[in-house]
C-alpha cells in the first residue's frame, strides 16, 4: 500500500514536470509576446521593448526561461508581467472568489442528478425516462452563453435577482446580514447556469450505472426472496451503483479552472477563469503558466485521490 502510494506520487511528479515543460514550450514558442500587446502605443519605443524583453528574460534560451519560472514559482517570488504583482497571492484571491461558485454548483449537480438518474433507471422506457433523456441532451447541446443570456433576461425581468458581479455596489455600509444575503443572491444564477451541463451528464451516468446494477443477479435474488422494492433499489442496487462515483470526486477539482472561463466572463465574476482569460489577453506568461500548472497539479491530485478512494471503498481492489 505505502509503496504503491510512494511510487504513484513519484510518477505523478514526473508527469507534472512534463506537463509544465510542454505548457512552457507552447506558450513561449507561439507567436505573440508581452511586448506586442499594444503595438500602436506611441510611447512604446524600440529601446523600451529591448528593456522589457531583458527584464522578463525573453531573450534567454527556453530552458533558462523555464528554470527562472520554476525558481520564482517555487520560491513564491513570481511576478506578473502585467502589473508586477506577485502571482501566487493574486491567484489565491481569485481562487477564493471562484470557490463558492464551484461549491454551490457542485452541490446543485450532485443533489439533482442522483434522484433524476435513479428514477429514470427504475422507470426505464417510461415517459419520465425519455423526457429527462431529451432534456439532458438539450442541456449539453445548448451553447452555455446562449442559455445564460436567456436566463439573465428572464431573471432580471421577472424575479429581480441580481446577476452581474459578486455584490451590489454601494452595499459596503449595509448590515453584515444584508451583505451576506446580497452575496448569496448573486451566487444563485451563475452557479445554477454552470451546473446545468453537469446535471445533464451526471444524471445520465447515474442512470446507466443503475441500469447496469439492476440487471445483476444479486438484485434478482433480493427481489426473489421477497424484499420490498424500495429496499432492493436503495439498499442492494444503489450502494453498488455508487461505487464509480467515488472516483468522480477526484475529477471535480480541475473543473474549478477549465470550465469556469465562459461563465465567469458572462456573469462578470472575478474568479480564476477570468484571471486566466485576462492573462491570455495581455500575454501575461507567468500567470497563464502558473494557472495551467495548478490545474495540472489538481488533475493529478484528483486522479490520485480517486484511486485511493476507490481502493478504500471497494474491497475487491488491492493496490500493489
Amino acid at each position: 500500500m505505502w509503496s504503491y502510494i510512494l511510487r504513484n506520487l513519484l510518477q505523478r511528479l514526473v508527469l507534472l514536470f512534463i506537463v509544465s515543460v510542454i505548457a512552457h514550450g507552447v506558450v513561449h514558442l507561439a507567436p505573440g509576446e508581452p511586448t506586442q500587446v499594444d503595438p500602436s502605443n506611441p510611447r512604446m519605443k524600440p529601446e523600451d521593448i529591448v528593456k522589457i524583453r531583458k527584464a522578463f528574460h525573453l531573450d534567454e534560451p527556453l530552458h533558462l526561461q523555464y528554470a527562472y519560472w520554476m525558481r520564482d514559482l517555487l520560491s513564491g517570488e513570481l511576478k506578473s508581467f502585467k502589473d508586477s504583482q506577485p502571482v501566487l497571492p493574486k491567484i489565491w484571491d481569485r481562487f477564493l472568489n471562484s470557490l463558492p461558485l464551484f461549491i454551490l454548483a457542485t452541490i446543485i449537480v450532485w443533489t439533482l442528478s442522483f434522484p433524476t438518474g435513479i428514477k429514470a433507471a427504475i422507470r426505464r422506457g417510461s415517459i419520465y425516462d425519455r423526457s429527462t433523456a431529451f432534456i439532458a441532451y438539450t442541456l449539453i447541446s445548448v451553447p452555455g452563453f446562449f442559455l445564460s443570456y436567456l436566463a439573465i433576461l428572464w431573471v432580471v425581468a421577472v424575479l429581480g435577482v441580481p446577476v452581474i458581479g459578486m455584490r451590489t455596489f454601494g452595499m459596503e455600509d449595509a448590515m453584515p446580514w444584508f451583505q451576506g444575503m446580497d452575496r448569496i443572491w448573486h451566487l444563485v444564477i451563475p452557479s445554477l447556469m454552470s451546473a446545468l451541463g453537469g446535471i445533464a451528464v451526471l444524471s445520465r451516468y447515474v442512470r446507466s450505472q443503475m441500469l447496469e446494477v439492476i440487471g445483476q443477479d444479486y438484485v434478482r435474488t433480493a427481489r426473489a426472496k421477497g424484499l420490498p422494492e424500495d429496499q432492493v433499489i436503495y439498499h442492494h442496487a444503489l450502494r453498488n451503483a455508487l461505487l464509480p462515483f467515488v472516483t468522480m470526486f477526484g475529477f471535480l477539482l480541475p473543473g474549478l479552472i477549465g470550465g469556469s472561463v465562459i461563465f465567469e466572463q458572462i456573469f462578470a465574476w472575478p474568479g480564476l477563469g477570468r484571471l486566466g482569460y485576462d492573462a491570455i489577453l495581455s500575454r501575461d506568461f507567468p500567470v497563464i503558466l502558473t494557472i495551467n500548472f495548478i490545474a495540472a497539479a489538481l488533475t493529478l491530485a484528483g486522479t490520485f485521490v480517486s484511486d485511493l478512494l476507490y481502493a478504500v471503498a471497494d474491497p475487491r481492489i488491492r493496490l500493489h
Binding site: L15, Y137, S141, V142, P143, G144, I288, A295, T299
Partner: protein, 327 residues
C-alpha cells in the same frame, strides 16, 4: 437472456437460427438504431443539414443573390420575412425580394450568412474530429499493436499512454483558448487546435480494442499468412475497432461546434470574412433587444444541430452496446 435463448423458450428455434445466420453486424446495428426514434429524428436533421451545407457553399460562392458579404445599409435590422427596400440594387436583392431570416447591423442577409456558416461550422467540426480521430487511431493502434516493443528504458505502450496522461492533465478549454489567442487568428488554427487537444479518449479505446483483437484468431491467422503488418493493422484490425471511435467522433463533432461558438463568444473565434454560427451568435448578443432574431436564429440552429449529433451518437452507442442488444 440472449435473443436466441429467448426464442428457444418461445418454441421457435428456426427463427432464432435464421436471425443468427442471416443478420450482418450492420443489419443488426441498423435494426436496433431504428428503434430509437429520437436518434432517427437526429439522423434526418443531420442529412438535411449536410445537404444545406453543401448547397449553401455552392449558392453563396456562385450566386450573387446569396452573397453573405453584400452590405445594404438601407436595409439594416430588417426583421425576418420583411420586404427588401426599393433602394437596393436589383442584382443583389434576396430571392423573391424577401429577407427570410432578416438582416443584421450592416444589412447583410442573415439567411445567406447562416447558409455559409453551416458549411464553415460543419467543416470545423468534421476536420477537428478528423484530426483527433487520426491521431487517436494512430497512437492507440501503435500502443495496442507494438505495445511490448522496448524503446530504451520504457515500452512503446508506456511511452504513448504516459503521453496521453500528460495531455489529459491540461485543462482543455483553457489550453485551446491560450493557443488560439497566441497564434494568429485563422480558421485552420482553430480546427487544428481543437483536434490536437481532443484525441485522448479515442487513443485509449483504440488501444483497449487492439489489445483484445491482437489475440483473436483472425489476426493470428493473418500474421501466420505473412501479411505485411500495415495491412493487418489497417485492413483487419482498424475496421473491427472502429465502432466506439465512430460514436465518440459523432459526439466530438457536436463538442467541436460548441467549442467554436464558445471561442467566438470570448472573441477568439473564426474571424470576419468567414461567417460561422458561433460568430453570428456572438455578434448577435449585442443586439438582443433591438434585433432578437440575430441572437435566436443562430442560437437555436446550434442547439438543434448539436442536439442532433448528440442524439445520433447516443443512439449509435446504445445500438452497439452488447449488453443492451440482448433485450
Amino acid at each position: 437472456m440472449g435473443e436466441a435463448e429467448k426464442n428457444r423458450h418461445n418454441g421457435s428455434p428456426d427463427r432464432a437460427a435464421q436471425a443468427v445466420i442471416y443478420e450482418t453486424p450492420f443489419d443488426e446495428f441498423w435494426r436496433l438504431f431504428k428503434r430509437d426514434r429520437l436518434a432517427m429524428v437526429g439522423l434526418v436533421v443531420l442529412v438535411l443539414l449536410l445537404f444545406m451545407a453543401v448547397a449553401g457553399k455552392a449558392l453563396t460562392e456562385w450566386w450573387v443573390v446569396f452573397d453573405p458579404s453584400t452590405v445594404n445599409l438601407v436595409d439594416k435590422f430588417k426583421s425576418p420575412l420583411s420586404q427588401v427596400s426599393t433602394l437596393v440594387p436589383v442584382d443583389t436583392r434576396p430571392l423573391l425580394g424577401v429577407y427570410i431570416l432578416g438582416t443584421d447591423e450592416l444589412g447583410r442577409d442573415v439567411f445567406a450568412r447562416m447558409l455559409q456558416g453551416s458549411f464553415v461550422s460543419l467543416s470545423i467540426g468534421f476536420i477537428a474530429v478528423g484530426i483527433s480521430v487520426f491521431i487517436g487511431i494512430l497512437l492507440g493502434g501503435l500502443a495496442g499493436y507494438y505495445g511490448k516493443l522496448r524503446l530504451g528504458i520504457m515500452t512503446v505502450d508506456t511511452l504513448i499512454m504516459r503521453f496521453t496522461d500528460v495531455m489529459l492533465c491540461f485543462p482543455t478549454f483553457f489550453l485551446i483558448l491560450t493557443v488560439v489567442a497566441l497564434l494568429p487568428p485563422s480558421i485552420y488554427n482553430i480546427m487544428i487546435v481543437i483536434g490536437v487537444t481532443s484525441w485522448m479518449g479515442t487513443a485509449r479505446f483504440v488501444r483497449a480494442e487492439f489489445l483484445a483483437l491482437r489475440e483473436q484468431d483472425f489476426v493470428v491467422a493473418a500474421q501466420a499468412m505473412g501479411l505485411p503488418e500495415r495491412r493487418i493493422i489497417f485492413l483487419h484490425m482498424v475496421p473491427n475497432a472502429i465502432a466506439p471511435v465512430l460514436v465518440s467522433a459523432t459526439i466530438g463533432v457536436a463538442t467541436a461546434i460548441l467549442t467554436e461558438s464558445a471561442l467566438s463568444f470570448l472573441g477568439f473565434g473564426v474571424q470576419p470574412p468567414f461567417a460561422t454560427w458561433g460568430n453570428i451568435l456572438s455578434d448577435g448578443k449585442g443586439f438582443i433587444f433591438d434585433a432578437p432574431w440575430l441572437f435566436f436564429i443562430p442560437g437555436l440552429a446550434i442547439l438543434v444541430v448539436v442536439l442532433a449529433f448528440n442524439l445520433v451518437g447516443e443512439g449509435m452507442r446504445e445500438a452497439l452496446n452488447p449488453k443492451l442488444r440482448q433485450r
